[in-house]
C-alpha cells in the first residue's frame, strides 16, 4: 500500500498538528504569549487565530506562572489545554506550577485529579541567542515524577506527538528544538498520532549504541554516516520520550553492541546522559566492553559568538571523536 506523501518542514508539521488537534476536539484550545496575533514567536501557530478564533487561540499576558497554572485548572475543569511557553528559558517562571501542581496533583489526590495538560515549548541553542535564551531543560525536567517529556526530532514526531499527548491523561511537556524548525522532508499525508512509549532506532549498527534525541539526533546520524565510511557502525537511538525512558530499547541495543555513547544538549553534570548511562550500568554492566561515554553541552552559560557557541554544544566532530575513542578501547 503506497502512501501519499507531502514535502513539509518541522515548523509546518507542528502547525499541522495544532490545527488537527483544534479541529478534532472542541475541548482543545491553545494559549500562550503571542500565539495569536503575532502568529507565534517562531511562526508555528501562524494562521490559527484566523481559523479558530480568539476563544480557542488565546494570546496571554507575560505571566508564565498564571497561564500555566490556568492551563492546569482548565485541564482539571475538563478541557484539553495546549499551553505554549514561548521558550523553555521562560519556563522556570512557571516551574512551581509544573512541578508542585501539574506533576503532583494526581498522586497527592489519591488518583482523583489527573491533569491532562499539554505544555509545548521551544528548546535548544544554536542560533547565537546567548546565555539566557539557549537552554536545553528537557533532560532536567525528566527528573520530575508525574510528567511525561517528549522531544520530537523528526517530521513525523513533530506532526504526531501533540495528538498522542492530548490523548494522554497525564501532563505532557513537548520540547520543540529551535534548530529543527526549518528541517525539511517528506511526511505521509495521513500522518497523525505516534507511539509515545517507545524509543526509535533511527539507524542500525553493530559497533556502538548512540542514544540521543532532539536536534542532536541529526548530528549523531551525520557522525554515523561519517564513521560508516570508516567501517564503524553506529546504532542510533532516538529516545523521543525522555520520561519515562524506554529502557528496553536502549538495553536491547547495548546488549548487541556492548558500547554506549549518550549525546544530549543539556549541561554535562546532571544531564539526561548521566541517567541513561547509569541505567546501562545498572542493567547491562556485564555486557559493556568499554566505559560509557557522553557528549553534552559544556558547563557554561551558552555564549553568544558563533565559535564559542559551537565549542559549547555537542558537535558532529565531538560525537565522531568519542565514538572512535570508544571502539579503540579494548575490553
Amino acid at each position: 500500500m503506497s502512501e501519499a506523501r507531502t514535502t513539509t518542514t518541522y515548523r509546518e508539521a507542528l502547525r499541522e498538528a495544532l490545527r488537527a488537534a483544534l479541529r478534532a476536539d472542541e475541548r482543545v484550545f491553545l494559549m500562550g504569549e503571542d500565539v495569536g496575533r503575532y502568529g507565534g514567536s517562531f511562526a508555528v501557530s501562524k494562521g490559527l487565530l484566523a481559523e479558530f478564533g480568539e476563544e480557542r487561540v488565546r494570546d496571554t499576558p507575560l505571566s508564565e506562572s498564571a497561564f500555566v497554572g490556568a492551563g492546569i485548572g482548565a485541564a482539571l475543569g475538563g478541557l484539553r489545554p495546549i499551553v505554549e511557553i514561548m521558550t523553555c528559558n521562560f519556563s522556570l517562571l512557571a516551574l512551581d506550577q509544573i512541578l508542585n501542581n501539574a506533576a503532583t496533583l494526581c498522586h497527592m489526590s489519591g488518583g482523583q485529579f489527573p491533569v491532562p495538560l499539554v505544555i509545548r515549548m521551544s528548546t535548544g541553542a544554536g542560533r547565537q541567542l546567548a546565555a539566557q535564551h539557549s537552554h536545553s531543560f528537557e533532560g532536567w525536567y525528566a527528573h520530575i515524577p508525574g510528567l511525561r517529556i517528549l522531544a520530537p526530532a523528526t517530521l513525523a514526531d513533530a506532526r504526531g506527538m501533540l495528538g498522542s499527548a492530548l490523548h494522554c491523561p497525564d501532563p505532557v511537556l513537548i520540547f520543540e528544538h529551535i534548530a529543527l524548525l526549518t528541517l525539511e522532508g517528506e511526511l505521509a499525508a495521513e500522518a497523525g498520532d505516534v507511539d509515545i512509549r517507545h524509543a526509535a532506532v533511527r539507524r542500525t549498527g553493530r559497533d556502538i549504541t548512540v542514544v540521543t534525541y532532539g536536534a542532536s539526533l541529526h548530528k549523531c546520524l551525520e557522525a554515523a554516516s561519517e564513521l560508516g565510511r570508516e567501517g564503524i557502525e553506529l546504532e542510533v537511538i532516538d529516545l523521543r520520550t525522555l520520561r519515562p525512558l524506554d529502557d528496553e530499547t536502549i538495553m536491547g541495543s547495548v546488549r548487541r553492541t556492548h558500547r554506549l555513547l549518550v549525546v544530549d544538549e543539556g549541561w554535562r553534570s546532571g544531564s539526561l546522559a548521566a541517567e541513561v548511562g547509569m541505567r546501562a550500568v545498572e542493567q547491562a554492566f556485564f555486557e559493556l566492553d568499554a566505559p560509557i561515554a557522553r557528549v553534552c553541552t559544556e558547563e557554561v552559560p551558552v555564549p553568544y559568538p558563533r565559535h564559542l557557541e559551537d565549542a559549547a554544544l555537542p558537535s558532529v566532530a565531538r560525537i565522531a571523536a568519542e565514538a572512535r575513542r570508544l571502539v579503540s578501547r579494548v575490553p
Binding site: 498564571a66 497554572g69 485548572g73 475543569g77 488518583g111
Partner: protein
Amino acid sequence: MSGAGEAPVVRERALELLRGMLRIRQFEDRCAQLYGEQKIRGFLHLYNGQEAVATGVMECLGPEDSIVATYREHGHAIARGIPMTTLMAEMYGKREGVSRGRGGSMHLFDAATRFYGGNAIVAGGLPMAVGLALANRLARRSGIAVCFFGEGAAAEGEFHESLNLAALWHLPVLFVCENNLYAMGTALARSQATTDIAVRARTYTLEAQAVDGMDVLAVAAATRRAVASLRAGGGPVLLECRTYRFRAHSMFDAQLYREREEVEAWRERGPLISFTRRIKAAGLITEDDFQRLQAEAEAEVDAAVVFAESGEWEPVEDLGRFVYAETGA
C-alpha cells in the same frame, strides 16, 4: 434579622450557619488534640477564628462550583460538605481518607464536591482557579471558581498575574482573601506597602469589597451578591474578609510576634460567640439549641475519629500508584 437583598435569617438558617461553624470548631479542636497525641503528623494549620468565612461563602455556592483552598483548608472542606469521616481519615493518613491518605492535612481533595485542594504553596492555587473558571466559560457551564487564600499570598507574583488574567478575560472567579493580619509571624503592614487588599484588587478592574470576616451573615451577603454577578456574566470579584486566627500559625509556632491581649480582643469578637449572641438575642435559638448542636458536632467528630482509627494503611506496594493516571493512556 436580614440585610438588604440578603436571605432572611430565619431559625432554620440560623441553626444551619451555627451548626456549620460549630462543626468546624469542634473538628479543629480535636485535630489539635490528636496532634498532641501524634495521631496527626506533619504540618497542621487550624482554622479557629475564621469559621465565618468558609461557612458564609459556601452557603452561597452550588454543586457546579469549584473550590480551591490552601493548607489551612479543613474548614472549607467541611463547609463544602465533605464528610468528616473521610477528612479525619486523611488527617491520619489512612487509605479511607479523601486523598487516600497521601495528602494529609494540607492536601484535602474531593472530586465529588469539586474541591481542588489543599495547596501548600502560598498563592499556588490562584492560577488554577482562574483555569477552572476558564473551563466553565469555554464549556458554557454556569459554575464559578472560588479561590481562598491568605493576605500573605497577596505579595506573591501569582496573585498579581492571576488577578490580571481573570480580569482581562472577565472570568467567573471569586477570590476570597482571608485577611487574618499575619502570614506566619509577619504582620501585613510589615510585608506589604499597601495593606488594603480590596483597594489593590480594584486596580485590576475587579469588583472588590472588604467584609467583616467575623460576621457570617456579612460574609454570606457579600458572597451572594458576588455569585449573582458572576453567574450573570460579570467579571471576577474579590472579597477581603477581615478575620483573625486564634491559634498559632501551625503547630510549630511560639507566637512571639503578637501580644496575648491582641488575641484575646479578637476572641471576644469571634465568629461563633458573636453570631450565637446575636441569634439568641433575636430569639431565633435557645441555649438548649446551642447545646444540642454542640453535642451533635462532638458526636460527629467522635464518629470521624472512630472511622479514622479503624481505617487501613495503603499497602506499601501501592506507593507508586497514581503518579500517572490509571485511566488508560
